[in-house]
């Protein structure tokens, strides 16, 4: 092993520094990009800087969040762009690729680098890499309060001298230092003092950058970075350059690498070591004294990662989140489901009394469609809030650490457990939670098995069937459905891994960030935005599907039938259901009623119960009593107030022990249960439940999968789940019959 080389700093080019500062002053609308390691409080800082100007979207083509804002400062418009968290500029995740690409292609005017004051050395690695770009840098020294807690006091002035760029102390969560930070970024940001790499490497860099000067398509601000990345063997930079026809450059880099190797030099290691040596020097200058204290995080971890209690604690927390979600959200869900929809239907009937067809469409399709979407929102908002809390507090990383061993057997890592667990609440946020996974094949795989996790919307179907057919063992039936869903998820994960989506390999690395108390404003914004985007996405698909089903139910299939006045059996819907029902005969429910009820279940699974009611009890949608405007408003407001009260009252009961199993006794006398008991045998009922559990994700989940991974993945998921549902229901029916049920 060669002797360690002396660490080095580049001699700063004073003239170039003055030039950049001058040039920056002249830019009319400076573009600032914010770059930093994950968990440096970057999101909070962006929120503090941008406030309500913050706009959040997705990067084109990838589901990586894009946060940007336009700000006014001293008469200038600043374009602020937050880049995803990155440990380095050699991309490893989709997020890091976005960050690197933005630096290469957008050529921002200033890089605002956010550092975690409590983990300076590692954070400086990225800073020094950023200085390989010829873009002015300004540093935000964030989480200063947390570092002090650890016993670390950072000397910002010394740090600034050592780096050659302005350093501003900030506590983003309390909005401290943010104003100064912006001013410094615009007035004093400069190129800084980068790393001087070992001579052999600097020679190679000089040669490569010399060649780049003849290549007009490569931006000068990136030359040094690109040369170093080539020498580090960064596969994504090589791919990028060869795709743009710069193979000569790659060949030149390879020649240098071969020459270095004959001198027993590994460029990748030497470059990393040179950066770390300099980062260490700077950190020692800036943090002269370290009095290591046992931090709160370490104490908490002793409990949360305890060999015996760690996993039970995690499961208890998950349970708590669900209890919270459903007890806080369900009064609102009920409110949207019944009183609000009835009121809206009442108004619509009154307003459209002279247009019966339009009235039927509005009352029969549009209001229930909108209602379906709306009724998801309270649940999602609470679930997203809880999820953001667990993520931002640092606990999610611990959960991944705890569950990693289990997920390894599926070729996944611990992080994949969280979306699956969320699926029990609602599949929709679960699908968007797959974003936390690094590899695309993992994201797709997990999204494809999430719909097997029995979401809360399926419970009403189980409950009514359990009441009708299994009065004594109802809760067992319900629990076995959950279990079957999980088993199917694991089975298909295993199958998919061995066929279409093989594991991409590569090691697994998790960071366990310090625990933090999340900022409420950030949590709220996060959850609210996700909920809103869900509503936007769901509105069109769900409305369209509901309208189509309504139309099919309204269209008569027999001669002499009148539009919108046919018996469901004689509608197009009924005849299609009749036509396909023989397909379900081997599953024990080959009648058109049972088959037909499955179709609207595609919109939302709980609708299956309503449709069964409509069909079996011949119940037409009860004509809502037209309410006056004032009366209706009063009723709606009263119901909203009641929901709010119930919701608040539910918070303490969250801590009570959950009821095991569903209370099936109450429904026993219901007319629907009685009708179902006549129409199904225990065997066919069980098969029906299995089919409902597995047959397809609801339309909203399909939409979420399509948004994350494209339509193809979404339709494949629907298709294979239909097949899986048919096969499993068939097996269950035949087995149950063989057992004499």
């Amino acid at each position: 092993m060669p002797a360690p080389r002396p660490p080095g700093a580049l001699v700063p080019d004073e003239q170039a520094c003055r030039d950049t500062i001058q040039r920056l002053q002249a830019v009319r609308e400076p573009r600032i990009v914010v770059v930093g390691n994950p968990n440096t409080g970057k999101t909070t800082l962006i929120n503090a800087l941008a406030g309500t100007n913050l706009k959040v979207g997705n990067w084109a083509g990838v589901t990586v969040e894009k946060r940007q804002a336009d700000l006014q400062l001293q008469g200038r418009t600043i374009h602020l762009l937050d880049l995803p968290g990155a440990y380095s500029l050699s991309p490893y995740t989709p997020e890091e690729l976005v960050t690197r690409t933005a630096l290469l292609d957008e050529g921002p005017d200033v890089i605002l680098n956010v550092l975690d004051a409590g983990n300076l050395e590692r954070n400086l690695y990225l800073t020094l890499q950023l200085m390989d770009f010829r873009i002015p840098v300004a540093v935000a020294l964030n989480l200063v309060d947390e570092a002090k807690e650890k016993g670390l006091t950072v000397d910002a002035a010394a740090l600034s001298r050592a780096l050659g760029v302005p350093v501003t102390e900030t506590v983003a969560s309390r909005q401290q230092g943010t104003k100064t930070l912006l001013e410094h970024s615009l007035k004093h940001a400069t190129l800084g003092i980068g790393v001087r790499y070992p001579a052999a490497i600097e020679d190679a860099v000089a040669d490569l950058t010399g060649r780049m000067a003849y290549l007009p398509t490569l931006p000068p601000h990136a030359w040094r970075y690109l040369a170093l990345a080539l020498l580090e063997g960064d596969p994504s930079v090589r791919g990028r350059l060869s795709a743009t026809g710069h193979t000569a450059l790659i060949d030149a880099a390879d020649a240098h690498l071969a020459a270095l190797e004959t001198q027993d030099t590994d460029a990748l290691i030497d470059i990393a070591e040179a950066r770390y040596a300099r980062a260490g020097d700077i950190a020692r200058l800036a943090v002269p004294q370290v009095q290591a204290r046992r931090t709160l995080s370490e104490k908490l971890d002793r409990l949360t990662l305890h060999p015996l209690f760690g996993i039970p604690l995690f499961l208890a927390l998950v349970l708590l989140v669900f209890r919270l979600t459903f007890s806080v959200a369900s009064p609102f869900v009920d409110l949207i489901g019944e009183p609000l929809q009835e009121t809206a239907a009442g108004w619509a009937s009154a307003l459209l009394v002279s247009l019966p067809l339009l009235r039927d469409l509005v009352v029969g399709a549009i209001i229930p469609g909108v209602g379906t979407v709306l009724s998801f929102l309270p649940t999602l908002l609470v679930l997203y809030l809880a999820m953001s809390f667990l993520e931002d507090s640092g606990y999610m990383a611990r959960a991944a650490f705890l569950m990693d061993r289990l997920m390894r057997s599926l070729g996944l890592d611990g992080r994949a457990f969280i979306p699956l667990i969320l699926g029990f609440g609602c599949n929709v946020p679960a699908v968007s939670a797959t974003r936390t996974l690094e590899r695309r094949s993992d994201r797709v795989l997990v999204s494809m098995i999430i719909p097997f996790m029995s979401c809360s919307a399926r419970l009403p179907v189980y409950v009514i069937f359990a009441a009708a057919l299994f009065p004594r063992s109802g809760s067992w039936i319900v629990w076995s459905m959950y279990l079957l869903g999980m088993l199917m998820a694991f089975l298909f994960a295993w199958l998919l891994r061995r066929t279409a989506l093989p594991a991409e390999g590569g090691g697994v690395l998790l960071e366990l960030p310090p625990y933090r108390f999340p900022a409420w404003a950030v949590l709220w914004k996060h959850a609210w935005r996700r909920t809103k985007s869900f509503a936007r996405r769901a509105r069109t698909t769900v409305l369209a599907t509901v309208a189509v089903v309504w139309l099919l139910l309204a269209l008569p299939a027999v001669s002499g039938g009148k539009f919108a006045q046919v018996d469901p059996k004689d509608s197009v819907f009924g005849s299609v259901a009749q036509a396909v029902s023989p397909l379900f005969a081997p599953l024990g429910f080959g009648n058109w009623q049972a088959t037909g009820a499955l179709v609207p279940g595609f919109i939302a699974k709980e609708v299956v119960v309503g449709t069964l009611g409509q069909i079996y009890l011949g119940e037409q949608a009860a004509a809502p009593a037209p309410l006056g405007l004032i009366e209706g408003t009063k009723q709606a407001l009263g119901a909203t107030w009641d929901a709010l009260k119930t919701s608040v009252a539910a918070i303490p009961t969250v801590l009570a022990l959950p009821q095991l199993g569903a209370d099936t006794g109450a429904d026993q006398k219901s007319p629907l249960a009685a009708a179902l008991a006549r129409a199904f045998t225990p065997a066919s009922g069980l098969a029906y439940l299995v089919f409902v559990l597995l047959y397809t994700p609801c339309i909203v989940t399909v939409g979420a999968i399509a948004q994350e991974h494209g339509r193809r993945v979404a339709w494949i998921t629907v298709a294979y789940q239909l097949a899986a549902a048919w096969i499993m229901a068939f097996l269950v029916y035949q087995l149950a019959r063989a057992l004499g049920l």
Binding site: P307, I311, F401, D404, L509
Partner: protein, 76 residues
């Protein structure tokens, strides 16, 4: 002063990084996170199911699987 794979260290023990396997799947990333020659790394704990292992290096707490610890050589 033995050079041993990081996987052989028990919780509470620490060592200084000597080298990373050339074929280590996380080689680049580990270097970037501070697994450079001479860096001190401490094994903190194993997860309840035995894997992965929590490490402390610099100011970071990282978790790696046992298989990935084998490619890291440390000197105790």
């Amino acid at each position: 002063m033995d050079d041993v794979p990081l996987a052989t260290l028990h919780p509470g023990q620490s060592g200084h990084v000597v080298s990373l396997d050339r074929e280590h799947p996380l080689r680049r990333r580990l270097l970037e996170l501070g697994f450079v020659r001479g860096a001190r790394v401490t094994v903190v704990r194993c997860a309840p199911m035995g894997d992965p292992t929590e490490l402390r290096i610099g100011g970071s707490a990282l978790a790696l699987r046992r298989a990935d610890l084998h490619g890291i050589t440390v000197r105790q």
